[in-house]
């Protein structure tokens, strides 16, 4: 039996960590303080150095 993992914060780092763990077959509980996940990156229009859309 594998243990669960708790991730605190649903920004880009928290989301990436959750996805990696989830893909390994580990159950993740992702806690986010705000009503939606996304964090600061969701507020960005584009990201450098490729000017890709952030969302």
């Amino acid at each position: 039996m594998t243990k669960d993992v708790l991730v605190i914060g649903g920004g880009i780092a928290g989301m990436q960590a959750s996805l990696d763990l989830g893909d390994m077959g580990i159950k993740v509980h992702l806690v986010e303080k705000l009503p939606s996940i996304g964090g600061k990156m969701a507020q960005l229009d584009k990201t450098f150095p490729t000017n890709d859309c952030a969302i």
Partner: protein, 452 residues
């Protein structure tokens, strides 16, 4: 983001906070408070009919206060989970006033004002802290006058202005101009209301207000109470129309911001605040200048900095591309002061360290590249979770184990550890995930060992 919401192994606890953590690596007991949204998440379809009808207007935090939302709101349009939330600080119903319009509007019957916070107990093997960062408050630097000059904005505010889904739909409308437009709208509303009242009076007395007012001023009808009221109303109407016309004349000359200044190291590399380099600000200033130039090809930008730190794959080339193709000038020097000139134009005074001269230049808008500061609640969170902080209040790690906190079984990634950009955050997140997985798989590994 969508993948996280859909992943079968991820339980999303949004609008929640960790209240208590006990135990040790491999066996933590965690208490999480699921704050009530006053909306049943499984019933809400995210249609937004409630927010259309809600009478309470609140500044929108997602748009950094540059736009409005209602007291019932979706944090942002593409937000996951796609459910609405009632803001208990502003909702009329929750503050003892009569309302409940959202509940009447909601066809899914998802609104429940009696819903309370829920406490969830979790048992986990490992914890990853990815609590992020706060934008440094530039109001702490008096010489930049962020709180006094409306056209001095932070980089994240500028990001919202650039965004097609932002408050200006991607147009570089200056905050001072937007304030004038908002004032015009408010005055027009007032004029429409008073015009309606005047129309009724004109119909009653069968005379245009202007003609009547002339007679009234000449001394007629002094004893007539109804006409006295009419005259007062007309005078008040005129008092609104004059400033309105003035503002409209002013607004006719408004264009989007075309001369931009970006000021680097606002709060970072500054011994009064944070001595460290935040790392990503040089790049986001170049990016914002490039995107602004894409939106409006006449845009010229000056980036004021001690040096431009373009350290990363493809970053230096990006900087040069910005200079060659996007009208960006890199000015070496630290800005001493920002003052306000005519037309709400900020004036930047700086020392050009190449020429050793003090210069002043006028811009349409100034963007401050604010430092990456630790989140406000980090001390409380670190205490709850049980990890140590470093001297700047980021989570303490060591250089040979950059995702391990001082407590075994608890890992950190992203800007909660130190300032970093998106690619670095993603790489560190994968690293922290792998470290956590080692613990999560521990029971299985031990079982295998026993069998062998």
């Amino acid at each position: 983001m969508l993948d996280v919401g859909r992943h079968p192994n991820i339980e999303l606890l949004a609008y929640s906070e960790v209240e208590n953590v006990e135990g040790e690596a491999g066996d933590f007991k965690v208490t999480v408070r699921r704050k009530t949204r006053y909306v049943e998440e499984d019933k809400c379809t995210g249609c937004g009919a409630c927010a259309e009808k809600c009478p309470t207007v609140v500044p929108d935090a997602f748009n950094e206060g540059l736009g409005d939302r209602r007291a019932i709101y979706s944090y942002f349009a593409q937000g996951i989970p796609s459910t609405h939330t009632i803001d208990p600080d502003h909702c009329r119903q929750l503050n003892g006033k009569k309302c409940g319009i959202c509940a009447k509007t909601c066809q899914a019957e998802a609104i429940n004002f009696d819903k309370e916070d829920r406490i969830v107990e979790l048992n986990v093997g490992a914890i990853i802290v990815a609590a992020g960062y706060d934008v440094f408050d530039p109001g702490r630097i008096p010489e930049y006058r962020y709180n006094e000059i409306p056209n001095v904005v932070t980089a994240i505010e500028f990001e919202r202005l650039l965004s097609a889904s932002g408050p200006t739909g991607g147009h570089m409308d200056r905050p001072s101009d937007r304030a004038v437009v908002a004032e015009i709208e408010a005055l027009e509303k007032k004029v429409r209301k008073s015009q309606k009242a005047l129309d009724k009076l004109e119909e009653k007395f069968n005379e245009p207000s202007a003609a009547f007012y002339k007679k009234f001023q000449a001394g007629q009808y002094q004893d007539d109470e109804d006409r006295q009221k009419w005259a007062d109303k007309y005078a008040a109407h005129l008092a609104v129309i004059e400033p309105l016309e003035e503002l409209k004349k002013k607004a006719a000359g408004f264009t989007v911001a075309k001369r931009l200044a970006f000021i680097q190291c606002v709060g970072s590399r500054d011994f009064r605040f944070y001595p460290f380099c935040s790392g990503y600000c040089c790049m986001h200033s170049i990016k914002e200048a490039m995107i602004a130039h894409e939106h409006e090809p006449e845009t010229t930008s000056s980036i004021f900095g001690m040096d431009i730190r373009a350290v990363g794959k493809g970053f230096e080339e990006y900087k040069i591309r910005g200079g060659n193709n996007s009208n960006i000038t890199y000015v070496r020097g630290r800005v001493a002061e920002i003052t306000e000139g005519p037309n709400n134009n900020p004036i930047v005074t700086y020392e050009d360290t190449r020429e050793r001269k003090v210069k002043s230049q006028e811009f349409d808008m100034v963007v401050l590249a604010t430092a990456c500061a630790p989140i406000k609640g980090i001390a409380a969170l670190a205490k709850t979770v049980g990890v140590e902080l470093d001297k700047y209040n980021f989570i303490k790690t060591s250089s040979l184990s950059p995702v391990d906190t001082t407590t075994p079984g608890i890992f950190v990634c992203g800007c909660a550890e130190s300032p970093m950009d998106v690619p670095e955050s993603v790489a560190q997140a994968s690293s922290a995930a792998e470290r956590a997985a080692e613990i999560a798989f521990q029971p299985e590994l031990e079982k295998e060992k026993a069998v062998a």
